[in-house]
Symmetry: C2
Subunit: 161 residues, 2 copies
């Protein structure tokens, strides 16, 4: 099943390595693919002090104003302790507001402030364009197929207990 994967070695035209069963291992391939995605992101947005996770948080708040901090952490698979630190940093930068609702004063509802909304609205097309560029080795149809498969995987595969 499947051709043995051949990966370029040290030189672009160097010896090619047969990885055997690894070539069919979804987890292994996902690790390499995500490595590529992160490297491309950092290269594209370097010097702007924006990490992929930070953009995801801001974009998610943009689409879900008033989302509870813990719910956001669960959806994006970020530990609540780490989310607290990130949100605090956003608040210090004037990007995000956290409002304690009257009906449950333990929670925090997150919303974007003006500068935060402006930032996300400016970044959104850039991020989308970068994504297309970073995966330009796939055709549009292939990229669509890939995201559809990943979405199905993620939707049922990441439980939030």
């Amino acid at each position: 099943m499947g051709d043995p994967m051949q990966v370029p070695a040290a030189a672009p035209d160097g010896p090619r390595i047969n990885l055997g069963g690894l070539a069919d291992n979804t987890g292994f391939l996902l690790r390499l693919a995500q490595l590529h995605a992160f490297e491309a992101f950092f290269k594209a947005f370097e010097g702007r002090s924006l990490r992929p996770g930070e953009y995801a948080v801001l974009a998610a708040i943009r689409r879900n104003p008033g989302i509870r901090q813990g719910v956001l952490a669960g959806v994006l698979r970020i530990k609540r302790s780490n989310m607290a630190k990130m949100v605090r940093a956003f608040q210090d930068r004037g990007l995000v507001s956290g409002r304690v609702p009257d009906d449950d004063r333990r929670g925090v509802e997150l919303r974007l402030l003006g500068p935060g909304r402006a930032l996300v609205d400016r970044l959104e097309p850039e991020v989308a364009a970068h994504d297309r560029a970073a995966f330009a080795m796939l055709t549009g149809a292939e990229r669509a197929a890939l995201t559809a498969l990943l979405r199905k995987l993620v939707d049922t595969g990441t439980e939030t207990p």
Copy 2:
């Protein structure tokens, strides 16, 4: 393009969050998917002190006896400094041999020793079975399509300079 991704929030049947453009972002989806893959791997192989990267190294040496350490590091996207530590640990456990070739005494050729080969041969079917189980939310055809897409992505997307 594409339906807005809906991700289960805190409760399995809790409020569903619209992630907007993130739902089409390949990098974001890859991160979540890889998170799932790692969690599943650690759960399946817990108590056996085997990390995904370690298995990948052993399996790669299995298929490419005599592979140079630096080449292996490049293919698996592991820094040579970290590879050195990992190989040393394998040697201490009697799993791997490192031979300095006469024609270039800087290099190290890696091979599996008996116990290392036995370990990989025992693990290989287990790892394959685990991979199927961990991604059982996809059909066999979908999983094949996913690995094919990832392979194309990785093959051209991860340059080893």
